[in-house]
């Protein structure tokens, strides 16, 4: 069973990184979002460096939505989702594997790109490190909550429009605690560990619980 999970993981990563996979699209979208911020807010470096960490979090939150539409849809269209449900691996574990592969190919590049784009927003070096760290802790939660939205809309023709509407309200707690962990590390007064612990708890709990909901939704789509 472990072998099957590992090969599924490698398949997902290969599909996402090879031609037409679109793993880099998230980073490009993130870059565009960050480039639009100074255009709309004005090129005031003092202002940008103050709100920079929040802008980076917001950009990552929006960029993670981009690939969700294809997370299960491609497998549903060509029938490989049927094969995946029939394998001896429980569907929730399959979903978890796909979610983790999705996070490695889309979430992790965003986390790595965030400090570079933070330099463009004049965020101080400590802020860059803190933002990258809180994003690293928080993005698995965004990926697994997003997988629920992707699974619920997999059988719908215009599901792609619906995913952000379903997913964004549910990701509000992740955003709140991600931002508050970042702010408390940079400004205080609360020690960073308090919101960071909640953020980590959100990530871990959603990695455990969300695959069950996604698996249930996928089973309904296949009926």
């Amino acid at each position: 069973m472990t072998g099957q999970i590992i090969s599924l993981f490698r398949r997902e990563v290969a599909l996402a990184t090879r031609a037409g996979g679109g793993a880099t699209m998230g980073v490009v979208f993130f870059l565009i979002l960050v480039a639009l911020m100074p255009l709309s807010l004005g090129p005031d470096l003092a202002l940008l460096s103050r709100i920079g960490p929040a802008l980076l979090w917001l950009g990552v939150l929006l960029a993670t939505l981009l690939g969700l539409d294809r997370l299960f849809k491609a497998d549903w269209e060509d029938g490989s989702l049927d094969l995946l449900t029939m394998s001896e691996v429980p569907l929730a574990l399959t979903v978890l594997t796909k979610t983790l592969a999705h996070w490695v190919t889309t979430g992790l590049p965003l986390v790595l790109a965030a400090p570079l784009l933070g330099i463009m927003l004049n965020v101080e070096p400590k802020g860059l490190a803190v933002v990258a760290f809180t994003l690293l802790v928080g993005t698995p939660a965004l990926a697994s909550i997003g997988a629920i939205g992707a699974a619920l809309t997999v059988a719908l023709r215009r599901g792609g429009l619906l995913v952000p509407v379903l997913v964004l309200p549910l990701s509000v707690p992740v955003l709140i605690f991600g931002i508050s962990a970042t702010q408390s590390a940079l400004i205080g007064p609360v020690p960073m560990t308090t919101p960071l612990a909640v953020l980590a708890a959100l990530s871990l709990a959603s990695l455990v619980l969300a695959p069950w909901a996604s698996a249930a939704a996928l089973r309904l789509a296949l009926e």
Partner: protein, 259 residues
Amino acid sequence: MRRVPDRSPRNMLQFANPTRFMTFSARLQPWLWGSAALVLAVGLYFALVASPVDYQQGQTVRIMYVHVPAAWLAMFCYTTIAISSLGTLVWRHPLADVSARAAAPIGAAFTFLALLTGSLWGKPMWGTWWVWDARLTSVLVLFLLYLGLMALWRAFDDPARAARPGAILALVGFINVPIIKFSVDWWNTLHQPASVFRLDGPTIDMSMLVPLLIMALGFTLLFLALHVAAMRNEIMRRRVRALRVRTASQLSLAEATAS
């Protein structure tokens, strides 16, 4: 010989039959509407005329008698949807989906009412229509959850197929309801902390608590009346749909045999 219906709670499943529900709810409806109108009339009299003016807030305190019950009902509706969703997923109860679907627009309306009255109260009291306080934001998120749920239900061509995906989303979103309830205590910002349901007893005066509770009861009765009416509409809508589908298939069958 006419069978005497078993009314013990063990046999509540008899209402699983939509036809039985229709006859039962038809008898229940006038009582629900009547009691809701009566309690709301009494409650509004106390809230708008008989209750005292707050020493700090003046007449604007009367907005609270609509705002607080609407906010309670906003959460109560979502709880109704979540329990109904559990019924859809676990027992495949045919009325559970009808109940969840009927409650969503009503809940969205109560949530909107709570946000609107809160905003009207906030302008004279806080000096602004809207603040990004934890409680306000989480109620706004609840409103967005209602909208997302309604959008998901509408996205399916066949309402029967939408039942269980909607139920899954409702249960996932149910995590948000305790966050709303406790956000005031966690973040402790501008919105006042809970003043009615507290371990050390309510902190508001009896002359205001009594009208508030009457209004809350009236709102709950109004919700029940609206919910039963919406459930009846939903059942009839599904029957019309089933008739249409059957007629269409008969027509296409007749055309196929004629050609």
